[in-house]
């Protein structure tokens, strides 16, 4: 039924899937066979096929997170064959397609692994730590109304573009998953640099970086050792440059802020 290529050959695959009942139980890898997988399918559609099969047979489907399936919501988060979001660079799990695999392949699928991302069930993990980091300061403190006209403060185009590039982070957590240290610095740095670059965010830049880093540490993420796995696996290409900006912001905030605590 392939749309573009009527001759695409269906594949049979072995899946090694992490199954875990809930947060408190131990998990394990369970083997499944899936048949007649079209190369035109997305990876998640292949899992849909598996889940429909399981459900029909009276077995529990594999729980996994997903939503928009167009690579922007950041819900999907599978560790596929030892890589965050699988083998294709710059691609979320939902945008990965089965034509990247071959008939007879064995595919290992695991959840993100980090103490700060406990497993809810099977492949679904709890990433609320990211929300708490944003709550610690990932915003500009303005109320609705009473703000100046949008064109009141000009922002140089290159600054706006760089801020935008940092702001495109989808909060999927691939950086944490790929990092040997389970560090969240790429995620934190993306927000810190976006707001540090823009004039609107400069007002609170010191307290912001101090509070966000403190929360990041509190959540139990590791420390960055500049390995670069995070940026290599980031589906939207957030640059390591942001981590340097974060470090710089942190250092100068600590050295010059009026916060004695």
């Amino acid at each position: 039924m392939a749309g573009s290529n009527p001759n695409a050959k269906p594949m049979n695959l072995t899946l090694k899937v992490w199954r875990q009942k809930n947060r408190t139980t131990q998990g394990q890898i369970v083997d499944y066979q899936v048949k007649d997988i079209s190369p035109e399918m997305s990876f998640l559609e292949m899992l849909d096929v598996l889940n429909e099969d399981l459900l029909r047979r009276g077995d529990e489907p594999v729980a996994f997170d997903h939503d928009c399936r167009e690579g922007i919501c950041g819900s999907c988060n599978l560790f596929i064959n030892g890589r965050a979001h699988g083998p294709e660079a710059g691609t979320t799990t939902c945008q990965l397609h089965m034509r990247k695999f071959s008939d007879g392949d064995t595919i290992t699928i695991e959840p993100w692994r980090a103490s700060a991302f406990p497993v809810n069930k099977d492949l679904s993990v709890d990433r609320s730590a990211f929300d708490r980091i944003i709550q610690a300061g990932g915003y500009v403190s303005v109320n609705t109304g009473g703000v100046p006209d949008g064109n009141e403060i000009p922002v140089p185009k290159d600054i706006a573009d760089r801020a935008f590039e940092a702001a495109t982070c989808i909060g999927c957590g691939a950086c944490v998953a790929a990092c040997k240290n389970a560090s969240a610095m790429l995620f934190v740095s993306a927000k810190v640099s976006q707001l540090a670059l823009l004039p609107q965010g400069k007002v609170e830049r010191k307290t912001r970086v101090e509070n966000m880093v403190a929360q990041m540490d509190k959540e139990g993420f590791g420390a960055c050792s500049n390995i670069g796995s995070c940026a290599a696996e980031c589906p939207v290409g957030i640059s390591l440059e942001n981590i340097a900006i974060l470090n710089r912001e942190f250092l100068s905030a600590k050295a010059t802020s009026n916060n004695l605590a």
Partner: protein
């Protein structure tokens, strides 16, 4: 002064200590390498012994020596703290992990490389530093302690040469990651200058590792 202790016990604070001490240790490597180049002078070791006598007795050097000890101490201590913290942060590891597809080996194995260097350092300190400072070395013709002869005889032993060369390879890889990483941690990143830092980092790593490795090889094969 709780803000200071808080700063340096935070994840970024600890990394800053790693980077500052790392860069400081790099500067030590430069001084050490340049000084040791005297080993190549074909004067039966006189110049080298003058140099080592100076290094062992000059009060300024002796003071800086303690700074160096602190530098090593902090660098090693923080590395242990961070490694432990990072291991805890990962929790249960992956069943299948192909990190080699997204990052260079040395960047992921700084702890291993550092441990090799640390073992080497202990052997190295015991063999040369300890014996020069606290042991009994025969005097050379200028009545300086003849460290040169100790070096020359040590480097005639194959296992010693192998340990040295292996340690220098580890050091080289440690520096390839460490040098540029230190600048990144200090926030010294700029699209204009970072490529230069990267290049200098590579060149520095190769020169330092090759420079130190050349000494045992020189004595083993050419002396």
């Amino acid at each position: 002064m709780s803000w200071i202790s808080k700063t340096f016990s935070s994840s970024i604070g600890r990394k800053i200590i790693m980077s500052i001490t790392g860069l400081f240790l790099c500067s030590f490597l430069v001084v050490h390498l340049i000084g040791n180049l005297q080993l190549f002078k074909d004067d039966g070791g006189q110049a080298f012994n003058v140099y080592s006598h100076f290094m062992g007795t000059n009060p300024i050097i002796r003071t800086v020596e303690w700074v160096l000890v602190l530098g090593f101490g902090f660098h090693i201590y923080e590395s242990f703290v961070l490694t432990r913290r990072n291991k805890t942060a990962r929790g249960n590891g992956y069943v299948t992990d192909h990190a080699e597809q997204n990052s260079p080996w040395q960047s992921r194995n700084m702890g291993l490389l550092g441990t090799i260097i640390l073992i080497f350092l202990l052997v190295h300190l015991y063999n040369f530093f300890y014996r020069a400072r606290f042991g009994e070395l025969d005097p050379d013709i200028n009545n300086n302690d003849d460290l040169y002869t100790l070096v020359a005889t040590s480097f005639k032993q194959l296992w010693y040469v192998i340990l040295y060369v292996a340690a220098q390879v580890a050091l080289g890889y440690h520096l390839v990651h460490g040098f540029r990483s230190a600048f990144q941690t200090l926030g010294l990143n700029h699209r204009k200058y970072t490529p230069a830092i990267k290049f200098v980092g590579y060149a520095f790593s190769v020169l330092v590792a090759a420079g130190f490795a050349s000494m045992p090889l020189y004595f083993y094969f050419f002396k």
